[in-house]
Amino acid sequence: MIAALRAEFLKLRTTRLVAAMTVLAVAVTALIGVVEAVTAGTGKGMAIPSLATTGGLRDNLASTGFALLVAALLGVVITSGEFRLKTATDTYLDQPDRGRVMAAKAITAAAAGALLGTAAAATSAGIGLDFAAARGYPLALPDPAIARYTAGTVIGSALLAAAGAGAGSLIRQQTAAIIAVVAWGLVIELVVGATVTAVGPFLPYTAAAMLAGDTSGGGMPQIPRGVTALPYPATIAVLAAIAAALCTAAALTVTRSDIT
């Protein structure tokens, strides 16, 4: 397992994938964060409440929603890329235990996702707190709450990246996997979660966004309306279970399939 982990970490360190995805996540988070901060309290369109309010500051901190999706896509690219670039043959020649390879990929994807999440969380926190301070607002959220949302982005990104690694290995065709994950996060969860609100907290993207501070009807991107978040540790457990289930299914599938 150590050899597999060492190889997978080295793969990530020797390409620009993680850096590029992190830059993308930070850029999107910054764009949404700034737009939200500038329009906060104006009541226009998708504008969030004033940064002087608990809801407004929380929504602004939760502008990492798209970054969470980028983390999931990072996981998808890490595994599906092996099939797209035909490097899977060498990978499974060098490490014939395919379950072990899948586990190593899930762990490295989670680590890369955490890195991406940290950068995104720092960006959203910096923007929200700076804008609030610049306007002379008192801090509307206690420090532990801010820390919890920030940690939620990091944990959510890590677990979504691991789940994405499972999805990418299951679907293999990279473009199809990317489209599936984006459609799942931005469309299917919205429809399913809004239709059956009890299911909402158990949907992966919704759960991760709620960890990061997102609430129903607030901020961008939207999560299903009417969904009540589970307690913080339970939400982490739900996300971890989804990631583990996807990665286990991927490991079983790749072990049984032919590498042609």
Binding site: R6, T15, T260
Partner: protein, 299 residues
């Protein structure tokens, strides 16, 4: 001592039987050509041998064990199956570092294999910028990282220019001289004759012939090679007499099924000048086509 053994191996993909009851062996220290037309089942067989494809039935063994069960001995087996299986953004050295990490091989081997494959100056180049020949060499370098006793190579000379083919031929010959067991698939048959001790010929997933290359050559019919400025006219005339005629060049024909005297008589009767004529043993291609029954069949 048998190193590679394939026993009653079969693989079915849906309705297609890619490999059909194939059995053969390769002994220690031999270089074996694994021949067959496109779609014969060569790559599928090699992938089963390396544990990447699960056989429908039968066994593919190295040192008496499936590849996945070789444990640490796996490092003693090197393989190339994908000519372009590299991340284009990763450098040559980094690609080999990743493989060293996965195989638990000391990274100090990288310098040695790069030198061995003539890639020493390309360590910092990104794989995406390499030519096909350089990528084939990088594949070989990766296969040699574990200092393997057994090498399994799928069409390593495919797509190479003449200089690359020449280099690859010499390289494979050297591997054989070092006492390694090498199994090389190819459909460049003349190439295999240059470096292989033995040849295994398969077609449609079945074994056609197995034995020393010299034995395979005996299956070739005597052939006459001639040069004439009226190649098409002579070709038509000889074909009408039942000869097998192949245009080797615009003015050069290779004829089987007629003697040199018969060809000369036919040409003289039509006043077709023959500039040069040589009678000799047939080519490996001819032997291969006869064995596999692929004469006239599109590849």
């Amino acid at each position: 001592m048998t190193v590679i053994e394939v026993r009653d191996l079969a693989k079915r993909f849906g309705q297609t039987l890619a490999v059909d009851g194939l059995s053969f062996m390769a002994g220690a220290g031999t270089v074996t050509g694994f021949l067959g037309p496109n779609g014969a089942g060569k790559t599928t067989t090699l992938r089963m041998l390396l544990g990447l494809v699960t056989p429908t039935s039968g066994q593919a063994l190295i040192w008496g064990r499936p590849y996945r069960e070789l444990g640490a001995m796996r490092r003693q087996v090197g393989a190339i199956l994908e000519a372009s299986g590299f991340h284009p953004g990763r450098t040559v050295a980094d690609h080999l570092r990743v493989r060293c990490a996965a195989m638990s091989v000391a990274p100090s081997r990288i310098t040695a294999v790069l030198a061995e494959t003539g890639m020493a100056g390309l360590a910092g180049r990104r794989a995406g910028s390499l030519s096909l020949g350089e990528r084939q060499r990088l594949g070989l370098a990766g296969a040699l990282l574990g200092e393997p006793d057994v090498l399994i190579l799928d069409e390593p000379a495919n797509g190479l220019d003449p200089a690359g083919v020449l280099w690859m031929r010499g390289f494979l010959r050297r591997l054989g001289e070092q006492g390694r067991t090498v199994l090389v698939s190819s459909h460049i048959l003349a190439e295999v004759a240059q470096f292989a001790d033995c040849a295994i010929v398969i077609d449609r997933g079945r074994l056609i012939s197995a034995g020393p290359v010299t034995e395979l050559m005996k299956a070739a019919r005597p052939a006459v090679t001639l040069r004439t400025p009226r190649a098409q006219d002579l070709r038509d005339a000889l074909a009408s007499e039942g000869a097998m005629v192949r245009a080797v060049a615009p003015d050069t024909l290779e004829v089987t099924g007629l003697s040199a005297g018969q060809i000369a008589t036919t040409a003289a009767g039509l006043s077709i000048p023959i500039v040069e004529m040589n009678a000799g043993p047939g080519s490996l291609e001819d032997a291969f086509l006869r064995l596999t029954g692929t004469e006239g069949r599109p590849g």
